[in-house]
């Protein structure tokens, strides 16, 4: 604004000077360019002022800008720490060896209570297991056949197209076996919980040896600060060495938690690797198109942008 208002007087002066030669008058922007540049000290002052404003705002945010929670931390659940998950980065895939270990943890530990209803045996093929491995694993389980000619259901060994069987027949059976608490299905657990991977990892590794003094733990419940309400029906399940990894990785609690969380993230987002790969293609293609569009726009507009605007006032007859 300042620059523009400063412009006004000189440009009018120029206009007055060149009143006589109408044909050669330049457009006002070109004529005003030298006046538009402000003194250097103004730029410095403005930059410093902006930096000071931004800096003080950042400092204030650092001091007081933390989110205010209306519920108590116990009701909300302790906020999980942010862990450096490699697979969450834009340019990284799942670690498929970790997925394989995580599936082992799921099978040997979690699967006794938690279902994984949305994941079929076929989806492991080519991701962390071979066809033969998965066929063998599927065949270990029995599934109902279609009704035969007599209308009876028979049992058959599992096929690749079958889904991982649930540990309980139905929700009621699951509740009955777990003191009234329903172990949630784990297929979407990473997407379906605030905090995702960080939350599940913190929950699995966050059981204290004994509840802190003053904590209210109901009968049959366990204390976990990360669980909303802190009372969780699931006890700590991961202990060092509870699983023996086939690749020889030391099965510490945090190693198992990390592997199973990554596996559960795969089961929630099996498309992630493909998605990111397609994303890189899309970005490459679109940035190319964007660049072309900028050049073409500039090419098409250059005659307009460089045209000269001339004002020819009506010539009054001289007296």
């Amino acid at each position: 604004m300042l620059a523009r208002s400063a412009l006004r007087v000189p440009s009018r002066a120029i206009a007055r000077q060149s009143l006589g030669k109408t044909a050669t008058r330049a457009s006002s922007t070109a004529a005003g360019a030298e006046f538009a540049s402000s003194p250097f000290y103004l730029t410095i002052t403005a930059s410093l002022a902006t930096a000071a404003a931004a800096g003080s705002a950042a400092w204030y945010y650092h001091l007081y800008g933390q989110e205010a929670f209306a519920m108590t931390p116990a009701e909300e659940g302790l906020h999980p720490a942010q862990y450096p998950w490699v697979h969450e980065r834009f340019n990284k895939t799942f670690d498929h060896a970790a997925l394989r270990r995580g599936f082992q943890v799921y099978r040997e530990v979690c699967a006794s209570c938690h279902s994984l209803n949305r994941v079929p045996w076929r989806s492991f093929v080519g991701v962390m297991h071979t066809v033969d491995e998965m066929k063998a694993m599927a065949e270990e389980n029995e599934y109902d056949t279609e009704p035969n000619d007599e209308g009876e259901l028979e049992k058959r060994p599992g096929k690749l197209s079958d889904y991982i069987p649930a540990p309980y027949k139905n929700d009621e059976a699951a509740r009955a076996a777990n003191g009234g608490a329903l172990p949630p299905d784990l297929s979407l657990i990473i997407k379906g919980r605030h905090g995702g991977c960080n939350y599940v990892f913190s929950l699995l590794t966050g059981y204290p040896d004994e509840p802190p003094a003053g904590a209210n733990v109901a009968a049959g419940m366990n204390f976990n600060p990360y669980f909303p309400g802190t009372g969780i029906a699931m006890a700590r399940v991961l202990f060092d060495g509870v699983v023996e990894y086939e690749d020889g990785t030391p099965a510490t609690t945090s190693q198992m938690a990390k592997d199973v969380v990554e596996f559960l993230n795969w089961s929630a987002e099996p498309e992630m690797d493909d998605r990111k790969k397609m994303g890189v293609k899309a970005i490459t293609l679109l940035t190319g198109l964007f660049a072309i569009s900028v050049w073409v726009k500039r090419y098409k507009w250059s005659p307009i942008k460089s045209r000269k605007i001339v004002y020819s006032p009506p010539i009054r007859p001289r007296r």
């Binding site: 209306a70 297929s187 605030h194 929630a268 998605r275 679109l286």
Partner: protein
């Protein structure tokens, strides 16, 4: 190309998108219209595709969405495009409305365009809400319950209307089916409204321009100048959309919606999608239910008051510094409302919400008319002196 001038349909295309003369000084802020048209196109194409695999039943809806995500070829791409473009649609429509407020696009002779635009905005919100219910996660069910229950605030017949909308005594199978049906229908209503929006603009004086003066001094044909200018922002939009769709598709959604709807369990906080939060904050700021609902709807309808309450003799704020301050204060207040909508209803957020609500309405009905009168007087004083 003579066919473009003679053909009864093509000549309409010609007069809107090819030869249509546009003011030469349009800035990039005039590109949101074409971007919004692209959004509507993406939504209709992806939406129709999703409908081919979706089952509107409370037992199967969630499963069918997961089926799309896992088993349908590139189904995840279609669904993530649909959900993220919905957010982009609102982001762009807010920018489009903001451009209109800043440059006085609502002033006569474009009042009709502005009014149709407000209707489009309301239909968009309805469509987005209906669509959010369809995956039938926890937030779908409880969001639907909260929003449909707003109607119960209507005196005498409120509860009957709510049950009429539900087709039962709670959100149920009938509700989901009719929401699906309406969610499929409304985008085409939107498309028709968009055409009306264009006709209303085209058949009066066309686009405004940043200077707020007549555009007739210098115009350029739409093709090639504005086609290629629009393409630049369309590709920027595609790049940003791709970053969301491919690398962080769920960042704008609530994880609660990946939990199957459970009528027996209320989620700890029922929060609408980010784009509805300012209006949700206004609703919650009013202690009385009926007045709250009225306030929420009038917050949108307040846009219709702009042509009346802006008394300024100049179009747009380019040369009105006081209005600029008021405008940016309004924007900041809107963003604050957006933050407050996601908070628990608790001190101090209740009080902040009430202050922001008062400010929101004051902008339309007090601040804008007062400032425009002041500025008119200042301009008059300045011109009289000379």
């Amino acid at each position: 190309m003579r066919i473009f001038k003679n053909h009864p349909l093509l000549k309409i295309v010609n007069s809107y998108l090819v030869d249509s003369p546009q003011p030469a000084n349009l800035s990039y802020l005039w590109n949101f219209g074409s971007l919004l048209a692209v959004c509507l196109g993406i939504q209709i194409v992806t939406g129709v595709t999703l409908a081919m695999h979706y089952t509107p039943s409370i037992l199967e809806a969630f499963n069918s969405v997961e089926h799309i995500m896992r088993d349908v070829n590139n189904g995840w791409l279609v669904r993530y495009l649909h959900s993220n473009t919905a957010s982009a649609f609102f982001f762009l429509v807010y920018l489009h409305i903001g451009r209109g407020l800043y440059y006085g696009s609502y002033k006569s002779p474009r009042t009709l365009t502005w009014a149709i635009g407000t209707v489009i905005f309301i239909v968009m919100m309805a469509t987005a809400f209906l669509g959010y219910v369809l995956p039938y996660g926890q937030m779908s069910l409880w969001g639907a319950t909260v929003i449909t229950n707003l109607m119960s605030a209507i005196p005498w017949i409120g509860q009957d209307i709510v049950e009429f909308i539900w087709g039962g005594f709670s959100v149920n199978d009938a509700t989901l089916n009719r929401f699906f049906s309406l969610h499929f229908l409304l985008p085409f209503v939107l498309a028709a409204l968009v055409i009306m929006h264009l006709i209303a603009m085209h058949d009066t004086v066309g686009s405004g321009n940043p200077l707020g003066i007549s555009g007739n001094y210098d115009r350029l044909p739409f093709a090639p100048y504005f086609i290629f200018k629009d393409l630049v922002t369309i590709f920027i939009f595609f790049i940003v959309l791709s970053i969301f769709v491919f690398f962080m598709p769920n960042v704008l959604g609530d994880s609660e919606n990946y939990v199957v709807a459970n009528p027996m369990q209320t989620p700890p906080a029922i929060v609408p999608e980010w784009y509805l939060l300012p209006f949700y904050a206004i609703l919650r700021s009013i202690p009385n239910k009926l007045l709250g609902v009225i306030a929420m709807f009038s917050a949108i309808l307040a846009l219709l008051a702009m042509p009346i309450t802006d008394l300024s003799k100049l179009r747009g704020m380019q040369f009105r510094p006081l209005s600029k301050i008021a405008f940016y204060a309004f924007i900041a207040n809107f963003l604050i409302l957006m933050q407050l909508g996601a908070k628990h209803v608790e001190t101090p957020f209740i009080e902040f919400g009430q202050i922001s609500t008062v400010l929101y309405f004051a902008h339309f009905f007090v601040i804008v008319p007062v400032i425009s009168i002041i500025e008119n007087s200042l301009v008059e004083l300045a011109t009289k002196k000379q």
